[in-house]
């Protein structure tokens, strides 16, 4: 049989295809993004899209489910916070076609602002949760997820972590089975979430959870591996493989795939067969707490801890005190934090912000979060998607109420984030007369997650040309009478734009517009800058732009030719005119 090396995300996409899924909607977010980057491969059989945000994606997928087809939505862990509203009510209503919500958590926060454990969403929303441990399970279990969703009339939370989503392992494919939708019939009792209906739905949902707990005791998703009676381990997701490596060979395992509701009778039975019971799970003691509450004695978080990712060596060390010998070579590596790329259009904007000590800048989630790093240090806060505008609003109101003057507040977010949840903030600032200048850093793409299209980019996920929404038209329609569009790479123009906005007598907003250099379909004007060492006085002003290509060696500036793309931002700050862009 053909084996394919697939990431968990690619395998989820394949599994959804094989399950006969027809409508798919998502907003990109590491580590979930590649599920939907993979789906267009199957576009002859299914519809897939990037939605403006996770709530929209969830609602679109749920609408498709109501209409009777199998549907999928996917997001990173914090995306579920945005999508929580429809998820909780979809649980009460139930589904038409199978409805699966992929949540990709990020233990150790490789690419995230927090380490929330989304398993609690399943418990809180009262929906079943399935956790695959490798790519083959990512494919197989999602097919089971659709069957469970339909059999129990409930949405399914499909939870992965970074290591499940991004690790690659061998997968054998199956065939697609078409899922035929029953003819659509209006069912207001089921789908209108009015109080009277919800009142009736809640006890039905409680009964569903009881049925699911019973089902979990015989489901093939949960499997017992008896290898001995001394030690038993209850585990799920990637922690299963870590534990397999870390525990002795005669350890028995109860490996759970359906992790909410927990199959407590199966767990009790397993516990009774072993002398010592461990629960091995990453992040919180989600399973352990419930197992203990059921009166079953077990050991877990007191040894493994609830912070960050685990791995086999950490489990060996924490559970058995068995630390692998390591070598300290005695030389310490300097940290290599991520930085805005050479030629990044955001650099000119943040450099301009960094020149004004009276500016307060609320930032947002994206490549531009890096504007807060040294040497630019141009951000006061970063909270969540869309928070750039609205956190700025709160800060401005606080300054007003406490009589703080002499500060100018900016709210900053990117083009994709503007469509995600920035538009409501832009409305808030106008409606409630905020003393805030909203800035949209428009690089024509969703950058940090790896270049996904958005409502402003002119293309959709299927690769077709799409309506390109104009941010300036939206802002003008909201009442920003002075919308300033500027090329952020032109520092003089950027400074003028900021001053124009600060001094504007009508509500002003700024759009910095220059496409990300990594967009492949655009022809970029790439060049090289170089330093005239006779003119360079070693003042290091050029280092202030925080470009990885600008280096100071032997008290003179040097441009790394391999990295430089000729954006000239460093040249514009040089007081001696020592840096120039080479003629072609």
């Amino acid at each position: 049989m053909d084996r394919h090396l697939l990431s968990g995300n690619e395998a989820i996409a394949r599994g959804a295809y094989e399950a006969g899924v027809k409508v798919c909607s998502a907003y990109p977010g590491t580590p979930s993004t590649e599920v939907f980057e993979e789906l267009p491969k199957y576009k002859d059989s299914l519809y897939c899209e990037w939605a403006p945000n996770e709530k929209v994606a969830t609602e679109v997928a749920y609408g498709a489910s109501i209409a009777g087809v199998r549907s999928l939505c996917a997001m990173k862990h914090v995306g579920v916070n945005v999508a929580a509203d429809p998820i909780f009510t979809a649980a009460y209503n139930g589904v038409g076609g199978g409805f699966v919500i992929v949540s990709a958590d990020d233990p150790s926060m490789h690419s995230s602002q927090n380490e929330q454990d989304n398993r609690y969403y399943a418990r809180s929303a009262k929906i079943p949760m399935i956790e695959p441990a490798d790519s083959q399970e990512c494919l197989d279990f999602i097919k089971a997820a659709y069957d469970i969703s339909e059999k129990f009339d409930v949405p399914v939370l499909y939870r992965t972590t970074t290591r499940v989503a991004h690790s690659k392992s061998l997968v054998t494919f199956g065939e697609r089975t078409e899922h035929e939708a029953a003819p659509y019939v209006r069912n207001t009792r089921k789908y209108i979430a009015a109080p009277a209906n919800a009142y009736m739905n809640h006890p039905m949902l409680e009964k569903t959870l009881e049925d699911l707990a019973a089902y979990g005791c015989t489901s093939p998703l949960n499997k017992v591996e008896m290898n001995g009676t001394k030690i038993g381990v209850i585990t799920a997701s990637i922690a299963y493989y870590y534990a397999k490596d870390a525990f002795p060979e005669d350890t028995s395992f109860l490996k759970l795939g359906l992790t909410y509701p927990l199959p407590m009778d199966l767990i009790r039975d397993f516990a009774s067969k072993v002398e010592k019971l461990y629960v091995i799970e990453e992040l919180e003691g989600f399973m352990e707490d419930q197992i203990k509450a059921a009166g079953i004695d077990c050991i877990g978080k007191e040894l493994t801890g609830k912070l960050y990712e685990l791995n086999p060596q950490l489990i060996r060390e924490r559970v058995f005190g068995d630390k692998a010998p390591t070598v300290d070579v005695g030389v310490k590596a300097v940290s290599r934090p991520p930085a805005l790329c050479p030629g990044c259009p955001h650099r000119g904007f943040f450099y301009t912000m960094s020149r004004h000590k009276d500016f307060v800048v609320a930032g947002d989630i994206g490549c531009y979060t890096l504007g807060g790093s040294a040497p630019l240090n141009a951000l006061d806060s970063v909270v969540c998607m869309g928070g750039g505008f609205t956190v700025a609003m709160g800060m401005a109101k606080a300054f007003e109420m406490s009589g703080v003057t002499g500060k100018k507040v900016f709210g900053v977010l990117g083009d994709s984030t503007f469509f995600h949840s920035g538009m409501t903030g832009a409305a808030e600032i106008i409606y409630n007369k905020g003393n805030v200048i909203p800035v949209v850093l428009d690089n024509s793409i969703t950058g940090m997650t790896g270049h996904q299209d958005n409502p402003g980019s002119g293309y959709n996920l299927q690769g077709d040309i799409a309506e390109s929404l104009k941010i300036e038209d939206i802002l003008k329609a909201y009442g920003y009478k002075n919308v300033i569009i500027v090329d952020p790479q032109d520092l003089a123009a950027m400074e003028k734009a900021v001053q124009d906005a600060v001094n504007s007598e009508v509500p002003a907003a700024i759009i910095t517009r220059r496409p990300c250099l990594l967009i492949k379909r655009i022809k970029h004007d790439i060049g090289k800058c170089s330093v005239d060492t006779d003119k360079c006085i070693g003042c290091k002003r050029c280092l202030g732009v925080g470009c990885p290509a600008v280096i100071v060696e032997n008290k003179k500036a040097r441009i790394d030719r391999d990295q430089c793309v000729g954006c000239t931002v460093c040249a514009q700050v040089c007081p001696m005119g020592a840096i120039t862009r080479e003629e072609k």
Binding site: D134, E309, V327, V331, V334, S335, P337, P338
Partner: protein, 194 residues
């Protein structure tokens, strides 16, 4: 305990470690091994330190390893070798590209590039050091540096009998770079002693 082997490929975003891992994995798959590979995407890609783990054997459990567990480290940059040294088993093997890339803080003059990276590694581990960047340049393009390093890795780990690596490389890299990468593989293989 499993008898699987694990390799850690470390470098700086954009150096081509992921393609190297892909060649390795394609060959191991062809040879019939169970293979798992782990990499992290997103924020860490932007000029940051990157690592890709490849784990293979008859049956592999965890795609990731912790400290003191790697059989080999292939370092695309010498400071990265030092950064990940504690992931190596004390009897592990290292292939190091004698190549230096400043971090942003070093470029800005706020930190010093550490002295003695190679010497420190050589005094503790069995090391194979080569100037892969220069070799790649001499072959026509710095872009094939990753396959130069791969050639050295195959020799250092005695992996030439696993599979016909030249066929695997030819099948993995884009056609127009095939000849270049085959030359790079051979040059890397010849560049280190065993």
């Amino acid at each position: 305990m499993t008898k699987s082997k694990s390799a850690l490929l470390v470098g700086v975003g954009g150096q081509g470690a992921i393609l190297t891992a892909k060649v390795l994995v394609n060959g191991l798959m062809k040879a019939g091994y169970d293979v798992k590979m782990s990499e992290v995407h997103g924020m860490s890609q932007r000029g940051g330190s990157v690592s890709t783990q490849v784990h293979w054997g008859e049956k592999v459990n965890s795609p990731v390893i912790g400290k003191g567990a790697a059989d080999i480290i292939v370092a695309f940059e010498k400071m990265e070798a030092v950064r990940y040294a504690d992931y190596l088993k004390p009897d592990g093997v290292v292939v190091i590209n004698d190549y230096e890339m400043a971090s942003s803080s070093i470029a800005a003059g706020l930190a010093q590039y550490p002295e003695g990276c190679l010497e420190a590694m050589e005094s503790h581990f069995r090391c194979h050091v080569l100037k892969a960047e220069e070799i790649a340049h001499s072959l026509g393009s710095a872009k094939c540096m990753n396959i130069v390093l791969f050639g050295s890795m195959v020799k250092a780990l005695h992996m030439e009998d696993v599979v016909d690596w030249e066929t695997v490389i030819a099948e993995t890299v884009p056609e127009k770079f095939r000849e270049l990468n085959l030359k790079a593989y051979r040059a890397g293989y010849d560049a280190v002693e065993r």
